[in-house]
């Protein structure tokens, strides 16, 4: 039945709709550069959303855990074989995405008789110097975008754009870890709130019209509600680590210390 081109296009459209629905309840992911590295943050109920891929590469994801796992192992195999056969410097996020997983995800998406990957990925790569970091996001259809200072994953393009618009001007190579954590957490809250607004009241107004201090207060209140029964997950790619592996997951006590003061009783 899909031999006719228009039916194939229709099938792809259905698939997009199906996949968009799958991400509606997902938790956004935020990645941004700070003075000594890259910070990745999300809030989830249980399963981990961040993984170490190689010495300077971290993966974040949204979607089905089994699909994420499959692509994670794919990336790990590619990265380690490449790092062994050539050198760790040749293992770059850009190569892993462009020649590795993006074609695989695209193929799965377009083969309408098979199941697509229900996944959106974020690959953060720590540069050797500040300002040389790179960020890649791969959508469920295999399309990818590159950035240099920050990136996000969320249920829809609109939410992602709003999140990016809210942090773009604030991310800089002089942000301290505390400042980066605070910014990432508030950006996560903004994205999560937008997602829920879209689900609950599709025609609801965007928050961007509110004055800044009212907006900040309401975002803090939102965070208090949403994070209470969940866990903040935060990992770093830290340029100051003496080890060749720069990846470090922050333990909960360190996350507790980084929490902004107005949110401190949240998880402690």
């Amino acid at each position: 039945m899909y031999e006719e081109p228009y039916k194939w296009v229709e099938a792809i459209d259905n698939r997009r709709q199906y996949l968009d629905d799958q991400f509606k309840q997902g938790s956004p992911v935020v990645a941004l550069a700070y003075d000594t590295g890259i910070l990745l943050l999300s809030v989830s109920k249980s399963t981990s959303k961040f993984y170490e891929i190689y010495d300077r590469l971290a993966l974040g994801g949204m979607g089905h855990p089994a699909d994420l796992e499959k692509l994670r192992v794919n990336l790990l195999e590619m990265a380690h074989v490449e790092g062994f056969n050539r050198s760790p410097s040749d293992v770059t996020g850009s190569r892993m995405v462009k020649y590795g997983i993006a074609p695989v995800i695209k193929q799965a998406f377009e083969e309408v008789f098979k199941a697509p990957f229900i996944v959106k990925l974020l690959l953060a790569e720590l540069g050797h110097k500040a300002g040389k970091d790179s960020f890649l996001v791969v959508n469920y259809d295999g399309t990818f975008e590159e950035g240099t200072s920050c990136t996000v994953l969320a249920a829809s393009k609109t939410v992602e754009q709003e999140m990016i618009a809210s942090i773009r001007g604030k991310v800089s190579a002089v942000l301290s870890l505390e400042q980066a954590f605070d910014l990432a957490l508030r950006t996560w809250a903004l994205g999560d709130r937008l997602q829920h607004k879209t689900v609950e009241e599709p025609s609801g107004e965007s928050s961007s019209g509110q004055p800044e201090d009212t907006e900040a207060t309401s975002l803090s209140a939102y965070l208090r509600d949403r994070v209470a029964e969940k866990t903040i997950e935060c990992v770093l790619l830290d340029r100051n680590r003496s080890d060749s592996s720069k990846y470090r997951a922050l333990p909960s006590d360190e996350i507790g210390r980084l929490l902004p003061k107005d949110l401190t009783p949240l998880i402690l």
Binding site: Y51, D55, R72, E77
Partner: protein, 257 residues
């Protein structure tokens, strides 16, 4: 594949082969010979090695690093054919990282030992043909048992635990006896020595090995060449800076040479 976290298996599936058994051609000298040693001291394990690589009578290189960090808590000191030894170290380094990253937990110390043994066994044909023999020392800190451990291997992959110390390489017979003497009759056994006296003993042992074995490089003060010494403690692996070795050598070793 990912479920097993076995990097060496992944390499083999892609056509990789370690240690092709090629018979040594008569008249071609292969770089070998060395002195490496490891002993337990008060805070963990000390691993040391001279810097010389020789091929027959010829000194090939005087700045070799034979004490190689595999991960934060383990070190492999290499004796034998460097080409194979360095390849093994690269495989191990990738294997331990690959395991940690795929399985989301550290490989156990026993698992690391098995990985070394497996590589040596895989290399038996090359070792026996005369082109790939490696007899390493593997030392590390077992974080589960909270204790430092030393293991040494023969070229076929047999694994032996060095309860107090281990040696390997052409200069090792000389210092094996000294280590036994020091450990048995000195005021303090080796495992009670604080860091500085342990470093002094390591420098003296390698200097003694160089005295009697032409294939072991001694300290070359003119060229500022000192052995490589690494310490493994609960905090991980740390290399002893050259400046520290230089001052200890001048104060505590040189007058006894």
């Amino acid at each position: 594949m990912g479920m097993h976290g076995d990097f060496f298996q992944l390499l083999k599936e892609q056509g990789y082969q370690l240690g092709t058994p090629v018979a040594a051609i008569a008249g071609v000298e292969i770089p070998t010979a060395t002195t490496i040693l490891a002993f337990k001291y008060r805070d963990g394990v000390l691993v040391a090695g001279d810097r010389r690589a020789t091929a027959g009578n010829m000194v090939m290189y005087d700045r070799t690093d034979k004490v190689l960090e595999i991960d934060r808590h383990s070190v492999m000191a290499i004796a034998g054919v460097p080409a194979t030894a360095y390849e093994m170290v690269r495989i191990l380094e990738h294997s331990f990282k690959y395991y940690r990253r795929t399985q989301l937990q550290e490989l156990s110390f026993e698992g690391k030992l098995r990985a070394v043994s497996k590589l040596l066994k895989e290399n038996v044909a090359a070792a026996l043909s005369g082109t790939g023999a490696v007899a390493p020392i593997f030392a590390g800190y077992d974080c589960e048992q909270e204790t430092a451990k030393i293991y040494f291997y023969d070229i076929l992959g047999a694994e032996f635990e060095g309860v107090e110390y281990a040696v390997s390489g052409s200069g090792s017979p000389t210092i094996r006896g000294i280590l036994h003497y020091l450990n048995t009759w000195e005021e303090q056994p080796l495992n009670a020595l604080p860091e500085e006296p342990a470093l002094v003993q390591a420098l003296r042992l390698l200097t003694s090995a160089a005295e009697f074995d032409s294939a072991t490089g001694g300290v070359n003060r003119e060229a500022n060449l000192y052995p490589i010494i690494k310490l493994i403690t609960t905090g991980g692996v740390g290399a002893v800076p050259e400046a520290t070795l230089k001052s200890l050598f001048e104060a505590k070793v040189v007058r006894h040479v």
